[in-house]
Symmetry: C2
Subunit: 165 residues, 2 copies
DNA sequence: CCTACCGATCGGTAGG
DNA sequence: CCTACCGATCGGTAGG
């Protein structure tokens, strides 16, 4: 997406964008940081309603997919363009992502301690979960009719319980 | 990656590329179809050595990660640029991907019938598996020291057995 | 396989 | 917020 296309979507000419943003970098950073905040906010909103790690993790998974589906265009930028954020903003962004991931891993650690979860490598487990969840945006794009909440539920089940009988 | 950068990597000038390829599209298509063939070949090489669906699926997962790690640069193009293949090649490429996915789903169907696997939505389960496996290229890029076979094994365990105790 | 060059498009600026 | 325009870079061609 070029500056001219962005301008067309808001109904102005490309140079006029520079009255609102310093440049393309700033637009990119704004989208990425706003989306990151959404993920955090939505996580906080659901996770403390549950006390058991299993239910917390499931709620966090469903909330995460919810943010993606309610901010599809921003989420695409967040996933595919974040690496073009200029330093030092990029480092700050990566830290936010890391902190968010750690919130998931804390739930897993608690679950492992309680004996609710297997003794998995939580970093790798987190990686598997986010890879699958973040890829759902491609499903949503190619098939807008799917029931996204149902899909998030079923996906949480596969990730938590596996496919082995 | 532009034509000038491609040329520099093989030690010629950009216009000389056109003595070997019609254009950038043809280079992209060649990389994507060659990589697709690699995935198929590696799948066939391991899957018939096992008879039980669980072991077959695990072997297929490990083989898939193996292809990624042995063709990292090509795999990146395969995953991130395939959508820019020109029609009708693009349709043929998508069919190959679909056929490859179906090979995994056939194993799952067999496993479900035998009672080795849960009655999961095999399409969604496949999506979860490929999302996680294909994202490992980012892990490999950012940390070349990791033991990739060990990682593939642990990941197959998480995907098959889940994280719930 | 090269040099020289093309039209198109990019992010961005000058000036109003 | 606009018109007019900039240098850089893109994929690709002409001609040898």
């Amino acid at each position: 997406m070029g500056m001219r296309e962005i301008a067309r979507e808001v109904g102005i000419e490309a140079p006029s964008i520079y009255n609102h943003y310093k440049g393309k970098d700033e637009i990119l950073a704004e989208i990425c940081f706003d989306t990151a905040s959404q993920f955090f906010k939505s996580f906080e909103a659901v996770v403390d309603k549950e006390d058991k790690p299993l239910k917390q993790l499931k709620a966090a998974v469903v909330a995460h997919v919810g943010v993606i589906n309610e901010n599809m265009e921003a989420a695409e930028v967040f996933f595919n363009e974040w690496m073009f954020i200029e330093e030092p903003e990029k480092a700050r962004f990566k830290k936010m992502r890391y902190d968010y991931e750690m919130r998931f891993r804390e739930i897993m650690d608690k679950g492992i301690k309680r004996g609710d979860f297997k003794k998995v490598d939580t970093k790798l487990a987190c990686f598997v979960i986010f890879s699958a969840l973040n890829a759902t945006i491609e499903l949503s794009k190619s098939n807008s009719r799917i029931n996204k909440e149902e899909m998030a539920e079923e996906m949480a089940n596969i990730l938590l319980k596996g496919i082995k009988a």
